[in-house]
């Protein structure tokens, strides 16, 4: 009986979606040539797809509900297995060694094109980790991250254009500029509630792009600034392939540096303040944490990383224009953080490789990339808000809560 009811429900859902997607997916009008294309096959795909997906959806929703109701024993065991693997020194040491070997050998085993893609992926790792400070650790939804990326990129481009300043001088300057912008924006809005922050940062991202597009005397408008030099290495002359490999190793260094810093931050005084802020603002304030300072620090630090990557981006592509800094870029970085698990370093690294490399290698799907990012954000929030790899500290907290009413836990 239950099966039958489920079947009927899925059928209704399939029909509903067929109705819903009918005008947009099936009919395509060409208002200039006055033709209509009917794509009936799409209706069929939607029907079958939503029929099948409704079963998957129901299964997972049921599972999530059951997981919430159950005593939690099972869930605890599962996360601890994952944790044990990541925490086991034998396993993690060999994994790190293997990753290091692959990272070192990669540029010599593959083509320049592949190395280029890998460099991009590494850039997104750093960007993801930078945004992770703001969104994951401090719990501030930042939707204009790309604006700071743009600030960094344009800092380098303009400094080179006007004063001939090189990559290594521009790098700290770009980071500094982004930080200043972060503080300027953060000052008025960070005293407000989270939802306002989201929309203001979104607005700020758009303003930055519009200003860069329209203020031609300053930024050369939509045509952008070209012929920015790649990073140099003690005036050594490098051909294209060599400088690509050099940039790749530079990025590996950046990633290591970022991982180091974010890990140290997570366990620092300010990191714990962020965590408290994310979990409960009022309680956090009551414990004597200066809310505004903690938020500003997170915001400024996150922006600094974006600015640094902006300089690298300008150096890598040797060309910047406003079109590289749209909201979609922010959305992409955000979905990396969301997929990876907010606050989880390893998760963010894996997620950025997944989200950047997958569309790159599955060319057929590259059109559907943004569709995928949107879906990831919704699905992850509903079924696994903690991301693919749960932050260890977060599970530790759960542990603490449960042991409280029983015997005192030695580890607390």
């Amino acid at each position: 009986m239950k099966r039958l009811a489920e079947l009927r429900e899925s059928l209704v859902i399939a029909l509903w979606f067929m109705f819903l997607t009918f005008p947009i997916l099936v009919i395509q009008v060409n208002t200039i040539e006055k033709t209509i294309i009917w794509r009936w096959q799409n209706l069929l795909y939607v029907g079958i797809g939503s029929f099948a997906l409704s079963f998957v959806w129901r299964y997972f929703i049921g599972k999530a509900a059951a997981g919430g109701r159950a005593s939690g024993e099972r869930a605890e065991e599962k996360t601890s297995i994952l944790q044990r693997i990541t925490a086991d020194s034998r396993f993690s040491r060999s994994a790190i060694l293997l990753t290091a070997l692959i990272a070192l050998a990669f540029p010599f085993l593959s083509s320049t094109y592949q190395v280029n893609i890998m460099t991009t992926a590494l850039m997104y790792v750093v960007l993801g980790l930078g945004l992770n400070i703001v969104v994951g650790q401090a719990g501030l939804l930042h939707l204009g991250y790309v604006a700071f990326y743009a600030v960094g990129a344009y800092t380098y481009a303009l400094l080179y254009q006007h004063f001939g300043i090189g990559f290594w001088t521009a790098l700290p300057l770009g980071a500094l500029m982004a930080m200043v912008f972060g503080l300027l924006l953060g000052f008025p809005v960070l005293r407000l509630r989270g939802d306002y922050l989201a929309i203001v940062t979104l607005g700020f991202g758009e303003i930055t792009r519009i200003v860069l597009e329209n203020w031609s005397e300053f930024s050369s408008g939509p045509s952008g600034i070209s012929e920015i030099p790649r990073p140099g290495f003690f005036n050594l002359a490098m051909d294209l392939e060599e400088s690509t490999i050099y940039l790749y190793f530079l990025m590996v260094g950046f990633v290591l540096f970022t991982i180091f810093v974010t890990n140290r931050l997570q366990n620092s005084r300010i990191g714990r303040a962020w965590l408290a802020l994310r979990e409960d603002e009022v309680a956090c304030e009551a414990m004597g944490v200066n809310k505004t300072v903690a938020k500003m620090t997170a915001f400024a630090l996150g922006s600094t990383w974006a600015g640094m990557m902006g300089v690298v981006f300008a150096a890598k592509t040797t060309f910047v224009n406003p079109a590289s800094f749209t909201f979609l870029e922010s959305a992409m970085i955000l979905s990396i953080v969301v997929l990876g698990g907010m606050g989880s370093t390893l998760g963010v690294i894996l997620a950025s490789f997944l989200l950047i490399l997958l569309p790159e290698y599955l060319r057929a799907f590259s059109d559907y990339r943004m569709l995928l990012f949107g879906t990831i954000m919704v699905v992850m929030m509903i079924f696994r808000p903690q991301g693919i790899i749960t932050n260890i500290r977060r599970t530790y907290e759960y542990h603490f809560e449960r042991k409280q009413n029983g015997a005192p836990d030695a580890s607390v």
Binding site: W16, F19, L20, P23, I24, L25, I27, Q28, V29, T31, I32, K34, I36, N42, I61, A64, V135, G139, L141, L143, P188, V189, L192, G194, D195, Y196, A198, I199, V200, L202, G203, F204, E206, I207, I210, V211, N214, E281, V282, A283, F327, L328, A331, L334, S335, V338, M342, D367, Y368, M370, L371, F373, G374, T375, I376, M377, V378, M381, I382, P385
Partner: protein, 300 residues
């Protein structure tokens, strides 16, 4: 003086459209305290549906008011259905989750819908036929206020009055007000909260569709991205008026409309979108609860 009046009417028209969208934000926010980022996309879908229906009807030989009415009805129907479905998929499973989760889900939904329309239709701008009729009695004032502007302002006013009646005097309106005040208490006195939330989404989406069709006829072209900027601006208007307050949303929209109209008319048209955001940041600094909003203290 004529130039000033023209800008004034232009601002009023803009403001009316913003109000139609801002109401959806403010109503949803009033009830479930969520910024429905996908709302702008609902408006865009309304405009696209109207375009498709209008083109088919025109090609099959219909003309005039019947095309307008049918396109309007279908657009409102589909937008409402989309709003309803979006709520069921992306927000309902997340009730009671932390504040960040539904926000991210909403952004995901917005990106999804944008790209869905882009992939299914086109990424280019499509010309939108002017469905609104020319009114002969507006002829003498055409240099200040065209009949399109007149129709937009009047329609908005009528819709606002209908909405006020719905909220003030009907049973579902009362339930909506109760849910906005205190969801748990409303549940205790027998209000079906889930139904109220769905209804709110449906009404908000229908209003957005009306706005979508009107502005698309006025501007004359649409693409998949129109919902994004319009959505942010309408949200700005809602915050300006005090989010959660319905008269506030209308007031905020009109102020935003005039600000933009005068600023682009007298200062520069390149930075049209920047003025709205600058206004938003200024309000948030000096009066975060908005013009008509109540400032609430967070209780523990």
């Amino acid at each position: 003086m004529d130039y000033f009046l023209e800008l004034f009417i232009g601002g009023l028209t803009r403001g009316s459209i913003y109000a139609l969208i801002a109401l959806g934000y403010t109503m949803v926010y009033g009830i479930i305290e969520l910024i429905n980022f996908a709302h702008g996309e609902i408006y865009m879908i309304g405009a696209f549906t109207a375009l498709i229906v209008a083109t088919i009807l025109t090609m099959s030989g219909m003309s005039g008011v019947s095309v307008l009415v049918l396109a309007f009805l279908v657009a409102v129907l589909y937008s409402s259905c989309y709003g309803f479905t979006v709520e069921k998929i992306a927000y309902k499973p997340l009730r009671g989750a932390s504040r960040l989760s539904p926000l991210i889900s909403a952004i995901g939904m917005s990106i999804f819908l944008q790209n869905y329309v882009m992939l299914a239709q086109t990424s280019d701008f499509l010309p939108f036929p002017n469905l609104l009729p020319e009114l002969p009695f507006m002829e003498p004032y055409a240099h200040i206020m065209g009949s399109t502007e007149f129709i937009i302002v009047t329609t908005t006013a009528v819709v606002m009055i209908l909405l006020t009646i719905l909220i003030k005097f009907t049973k579902i309106g009362k339930a909506m007000r109760a849910t906005a005040q205190d969801r748990n208490m409303a549940m205790l006195v027998g209000v079906n909260v889930n139904r109220v939330i769905s209804t709110t989404f449906i009404i908000g989406s229908a209003l957005a569709a009306v706005g979508g069709v009107l502005i698309a006829s006025h501007i004359g072209r649409i693409n998949f991205y129109i919902g994004f900027i319009a959505g942010i601006k309408a949200f700005t208007a809602a915050v300006l008026g005090g989010i959660g307050s319905i008269p506030g949303a209308v007031l905020g929209s009109l102020i935003l409309g005039w600000t933009e109209s005068f600023a682009t008319g007298y200062v520069s048209s390149d930075y049209e979108d920047v003025f709205a955001f600058a206004l938003l940041v200024l309000i948030l600094i000096f009066r975060p609860s908005g013009l008509l909003g109540r400032s609430t203290t967070q209780k523990v």
